[in-house]
């Protein structure tokens, strides 16, 4: 049990998807202008990561490994995650419209998001068990949500502050991301 929490926190903070592994940088800059959309995007990523990890683990260990076709994992994981996101989107749209309005438009965006594909590969590389994979995905998703939330909060304030004209918009966002990455560096060596 202790092990699971270590995995969760190491994926959320120490090996943060965005700031330590540099995965999922496109939504990090693309959807971090407003806090509301950043939270929706983060939640959608968290959800898809959880389901993707839970589905790709049995496929890898019960189909790919016995037949000796592990090399195919990239294309098969992409295929499985893409169809999975389609199913999730359809299910949310038909059952809960409020949730669909909040998450719906972000779900197709992350069908083959590198952070989502990345967590499934990390699970395989680290030879996690099923439960460990799910906790790793939950940690990675929460870390993603956390960083997106922090970034959007900072960027909302940056809009109003007096930045030099040359730095306005994306350049200052890159600098902010650098400082944020440095501050997350302090978590290194904790786990």
């Amino acid at each position: 049990m202790n092990n699971l929490f270590v995995i969760f926190f190491s994926m959320a903070l120490v090996n943060n998807m965005i700031l330590a592994k540099f995965l999922g940088l496109c939504p990090f800059f693309g959807v971090s202008k407003k806090t509301k959309s950043a939270v929706s995007m983060g939640l959608a990523v968290l959800l898809v990561m959880l389901v993707a990890s839970a589905v790709t683990w049995p496929i890898y260990y019960y189909i790919l490994v016995p037949y000796g076709v592990e090399v195919m994992k990239t294309v098969i994981f992409i295929l499985v995650i893409a169809s999975l996101v389609q199913i999730i989107e359809m299910a949310i749209k038909r059952t809960n419209l409020t949730l669909y309005n909040a998450l719906g438009i972000y779900l197709p965006l992350i069908t083959t998001n590198c952070a989502v594909l990345g967590i499934t590969f990390i699970n395989v590389d680290q030879t996690y068990t099923f439960l460990e994979s799910v906790f790793a995905a939950a940690g990675a998703g929460s870390g993603f949500l956390l960083v997106l939330l922090i970034m959007s909060g900072i960027r909302e304030r940056l809009e109003l502050s007096d930045t030099p004209i040359a730095f306005k918009g994306t350049p200052i966002a890159f600098i902010t991301a650098m400082l944020l990455g440095l501050s997350f560096l302090a978590f290194q060596g904790m786990v």
């Binding site: 076709v69 195919m72 295929l79 169809s83 999975l84 389609q86």
Partner: protein, 283 residues
């Protein structure tokens, strides 16, 4: 490793995924019909997402109308009702007539007569400036003029008068959504019925007086003269703020008698003037 095996595994997983999507789409309950209808109705709406109709955004309003058409008849989209052609297109589509309400418009209760008594170099928003000693103007109730209302206005009806540093509303484009009312940290913007001919351009509340800070030369001095010279009920007094409230009646005498000339005419006043003028001409 066997090539055939690779092909078989990949295609079977692909086939299975496709099958799952098909099965799930059959098993799940059918898509709500009103959703497609709402999407069609939304095409007619202006898409300002301002919330003036009381629904959180245009799509939510379209959904409400799709469920019950009477929603549109009773509370037509205030943005669309500015545009007669667009209004007629949606009326034709729904097959009913909408009740044309008077609507509401925003006013700013400040003339901008108060001058700055300090240099402000902080975050350039009204909300931030007000937190610092009630703003940098002599009058603690005055318009800060950093444009929080301009930023939230969906139609660009709000602007800042660069000379006097006060927000002004263009009634032609104002849709009465009330976003500026929520945005103003001084509480200066207010929605009034669109046929009100005048408003008080001051918000100086003597009952909440701040020592050492004075009203501007234009500010209301709470003399009650507008109440005295007007007809019964045309002007009521807000005891809490110690300021007069004007209603739909036109109060020309009060506008003239006001010692500070702080009662401002709205676009509705000019319309009424013209109407009177044209009647006289035909006579």
């Amino acid at each position: 490793m066997n090539t055939t095996l690779t092909v078989v595994v990949l295609s079977s997983i692909g086939f299975f995924s496709g099958l799952m999507i098909y099965v799930v789409s059959k098993v799940l309950p059918k898509e709500d019909k009103s959703l497609a209808e709402a999407a069609r109705i939304k095409e007619f709406l202006p898409g300002a997402d301002c919330g003036a109709c009381g629904h959180p955004g245009c799509f939510a309003y379209a959904q409400a109308v799709a469920h019950d058409k009477q929603v549109f008849a009773k509370t037509p989209c205030p943005v669309l009702s500015q545009d007669k052609d667009g209004m007629k297109r949606l009326e034709d589509y729904l097959g009913l007539k909408a009740e044309a309400g008077v609507g509401k418009k925003a006013v700013v209760h400040c003339t901008g007569g108060s001058h700055a008594i300090a240099d402000y170099i902080g975050v350039q928003t009204c909300a931030a400036a007000v937190q610092l000693a009630s703003g940098f103007n002599e009058c603690p109730y005055s318009c800060i003029g950093l444009g929080d209302c301009v930023r939230v206005c969906p139609t660009g009806a709000m602007s800042i008068d660069q000379e006097k540093h006060v927000a002004v509303v263009d009634w032609e484009t104002c849709i009465g959504c009330g976003l500026c009312v929520a945005a103003c940290p001084q509480g200066l913007t207010e929605l009034i019925p669109a046929d009100t001919p005048q408003y008080l351009a001051c918000n100086y509340q003597v009952k909440r007086d701040i020592p050492g800070r004075k009203r501007c030369p234009d500010g209301c001095i709470h003399c009650h003269i507008c109440e005295k010279v007007s007809l019964e009920g045309a002007v009521t007094w807000d005891e809490k703020k110690d300021l007069p409230i004007f209603h739909v009646d036109q109060i020309d005498t009060a506008i003239e008698k006001c010692p500070r000339h702080v009662i401002r005419k709205t676009a509705a006043y000019e319309e009424k003037e013209e109407a009177v003028g044209s009647v006289q001409e035909t006579n």
